[in-house]
């Protein structure tokens, strides 16, 4: 816990030093203390924009978890569907969402659904892939055992396969969180009236560079805390996967 903080302090210190020594203009590269000042001065602006982006990301990841999870189960239960749909799913990831985003905004308008759609599109894929792989990797001996217990398909799914796949689904969600923030910010770039991405986009031409950096810091902190929250959820929901146990 200490080590990354020390590294961060060193990095910020070096940055501060650089801005003083090189006398670079504050609207090109603001010093850390100016960013901190903006974090304080613009706190209500940052917070109200954060709440918009946080909603998009939070809801988006949640939706992606649900949709991705259900899709993985469907593909697992119906091999024909898997053979038909999996290649399409994979190729859907080859279409850059940078291209897709403006079209979706055109379709859904400046509403929150356009942002949600983009976040879900970038997030559901890691969830589907990790969950489906875990479902298919369930110990075949266990499945045989359940069959000799006369378990129904649904019972096997509920008692064995779903819990076995849960850790992987959460890992998928962790990967998704990282791309979700990028997705949300880009969606706001493409067309929106609020959100941290929108604030970033509008701060730069106004030469409010410190504010843009402050928005970036808030975004980074938000992503990190979302990631940690998922880590906590992992500890609570799937404690048997912990490696550091005695």
């Amino acid at each position: 816990m200490i080590a990354p903080l020390v590294l961060l302090a060193l990095f910020v210190g070096a940055w501060e030093l650089y801005t003083r020594v090189s006398s670079v203009d504050a609207f090109i590269l603001p010093a850390p203390h100016e960013v901190a000042q903006s974090l304080y001065d613009d706190r209500s602006l940052l917070l109200s924009n954060l709440s918009v982006t946080a909603q998009e990301v939070g809801l988006g990841v949640l939706l992606a978890l649900v949709i991705g999870g259900l899709l993985a189960f469907a593909l697992h239960l119906w091999p024909t569907l898997r053979r038909a749909a999996y290649p399409l799913l994979v190729s859907s990831q080859a279409v850059p969402f940078v291209i897709l985003a403006p079209l979706l905004v055109f379709w859904f308008g400046f509403s929150v659904s356009a942002k949600l759609a983009i976040v879900v599109i970038v997030c559901f894929f890691p969830v589907v892939v990790t969950t489906l792989d875990a479902l298919r990797a369930v110990d075949p001996e266990l499945l045989k055992l359940m069959r000799t217990f006369d378990a129904s398909r649904w019972q096997t799914l509920r008692m064995v396969e779903a819990p076995a796949a849960l850790p992987a689904a959460l890992s998928g969600a962790k990967i998704a969180v990282a791309v979700a923030v990028i997705g949300a910010v880009f969606a706001e770039y493409t067309g929106s009236e609020k959100g941290l991405g929108h604030l970033l986009l509008t701060s730069t031409p106004q030469l409010e560079t410190a504010r843009a950096w402050a928005a970036t810091v808030v975004l980074a902190l938000f992503a990190v805390s979302l990631f940690s929250a998922l880590g906590l959820a992992e500890r609570a929901l799937v404690p048997w996967t912990r490696k550091d146990r005695p």
């Binding site: 266990l142 045989k144 055992l145 006369d150 048997w240």
Partner: protein
């Protein structure tokens, strides 16, 4: 025709593509009899068990068995359940509520040396204990026929010896029809009423050795050692 919980295999044939796993295999197990099947690796022992359990069907021949349950080679316990919930898994599948299932498993836990480990997680149990839980899980399915697939194959020699004694005692108290597949001839001689020797692939039964020795048996007793020699001779 199985008589009250026995197993009757008649001229079973099973092939996987060009590989014939079982050929002309006949075997009968009387109710509450313990039959050990020994044979070299890859002779189709596990295939035979899966046919008895109804997990796959024979290409030809007849399999007539009372309802059978499989105890897989690895313990295959569920890491997200406690030891007692693992043992009670079959009861949960049968529709019992969690508390009722635990209640039914509890006396067996106390009886078979697992008292105090009810709420232990799987990773907290030793290899021998895991096999005990796995065996109780098999027992609690309530099926008359138990198919044990090399149950102690993954254990070290000392633990395996202990577990063989334990299983012998457990079966003396809870008699079941048992089909025990193993490559450990000593294990077969200690536990079984009858030892059947299987040929290399394609597998069939080549010799049957009745074990008419009093229980409990010691692996080192001269009669067991002599029997082991005969079984090993038949395997050559």
């Amino acid at each position: 025709m199985h008589v009250d919980g026995g197993v009757q295999l008649t001229r079973i044939h099973r092939a996987f593509g060009p590989v014939t796993a079982l050929q002309d295999l006949s075997l009968s197990v009387a109710a509450q009899e313990v039959v050990a099947v020994v044979g070299p690796s890859g002779c189709g022992k596990s295939t035979m068990l899966e046919i008895v359990c109804g997990l796959q069907s024979a290409d030809s021949g007849e399999c007539d068995s009372a309802p059978a349950v499989l105890m897989p080679q690895r313990d295959s316990l569920l890491p997200w359940l406690s030891a007692i919930d693992n043992a009670a898994l079959a009861l949960r599948v049968a529709g019992k509520r969690r508390q009722a299932a635990r209640g039914q498993a509890q006396p067996l836990f106390e009886h078979f040396g697992l008292e105090g480990f009810e709420d232990a997680r799987v990773h907290e149990l030793s290899g021998g204990m895991r096999q005990r839980v796995a065996f109780l899980r098999t027992l609690l399915s309530g099926k008359p026929v138990l198919c044990l697939d090399e149950p102690f194959g993954a254990l070290d020699a000392i633990t395996r010896g202990e577990m063989q004694t334990w299983l012998g005692d457990a079966l003396a108290e809870e008699p079941r029809t048992v089909l025990l597949v193993t490559h450990d001839v000593e294990e077969a001689c200690v536990l079984a009423d009858r030892v059947c020797v299987m040929s290399p692939r394609p597998g069939r039964i080549v010799t049957e050795l009745p074990v008419e020795l009093p229980r409990p048996r010691k692996a080192t007793s001269p009669a067991v050692v002599a029997l082991r020699e005969r079984a090993l001779e038949a395997l050559r």
